[in-house]
Point group: C2
Amino acid sequence: MADLILTTFDWVPEMPRGYVRDLRVRWALEEARLPYRVDSVPFRDRDTGHYSHQPFGQVPWLTDGDISIFESGAILLYLGERSDALIPTDAQERREVITWLFAALNSVEMASLPWSLFFFSGDTADTPGRKCLDGFLASRLQHLESVLTGREWLAGTFSVADILMADVLRLVHRFEGLAAYPVCRRYVERATSRPAFVKAHADQLAHFAAAD
Amino acid sequence: MADLILTTFDWVPEMPRGYVRDLRVRWALEEARLPYRVDSVPFRDRDTGHYSHQPFGQVPWLTDGDISIFESGAILLYLGERSDALIPTDAQERREVITWLFAALNSVEMASLPWSLFFFSGDTADTPGRKCLDGFLASRLQHLESVLTGREWLAGTFSVADILMADVLRLVHRFEGLAAYPVCRRYVERATSRPAFVKAHADQLAHFAAAD
């Protein structure tokens, strides 16, 4: 029955646990109540089989019979075709969800992930480059704060756009980057209190803990 | 006849000319030979009308009658439904194109655009954060170099995935970030020698020059 197989690493260091991108796919699968199983590939020795599914040597990827898809955005778009709990079937609502799905990945995460990496590198120098990255993220969050004011979810009902946006913002929040953005913080709290997120998150932690 | 209206800024400074993201949409429209016209909004005074179409105050957006879409990825996906010159109709080929479309935006551009911003900020300090961004981009380009070896386009025939990936890499190339990646350089040259790119690029330059 479980034709859907989600592949992630067999183990990761402590730091990224709870934030590995298979979480986005687990969360979507739980929201849609689609049956699936989780498979693993080595974190340390990535072989050609791994690269044939994910050319950048990252995770996750999803297989559905002969179909193999990488990129969390592409996977969630694919799953959205199987469940209106992820993407509504109405054409206009669908377009809005897809637009916000891209906004999460290419407007917000493009600013936030490098900011987090920079933060995580331990760099404390107040250089022009640092200011540039800080400003890039702030420009996105300020506008997102306005968008989310008075809005429960990005595009009408809860959708894959919220899975991606909340997961993107969650990492910023981890490094205290949402301190000045209370509306964004409440949005993250609202999204991550959903039972599907809670289960997906607990399952990822258990998966990596089992490998210790 | 030209129901499709692409909106961009009325003017931008010299530096981004030729690289403003309306180029991706112009390029796709030219490849698909879809009729369109270009409209402008002020670069300096962005009003609520602008934010109602593009919540981050950026460009481009595309309107098609009552439909309004922002995010270059979402726009190209939308246009891809209207022309198999952009996204093939075969289900498997379509999935591959969409996967690579996301890879361009969320695996490569997420590493390359912040790197470019950092570079453009004039920061020359050799800090841990700088090394982290350099390493992030290199990890993507090394794998992309392998992927593109022996491959003309990312997913079979030329598609929106190539429009996005080539445009992403073009900015890296501008700052000499492709020096160690000859296969990526040749890919950019191949893509940007297409008549549709040449016209789109010339049209963008002419649009901004007309406002000087």
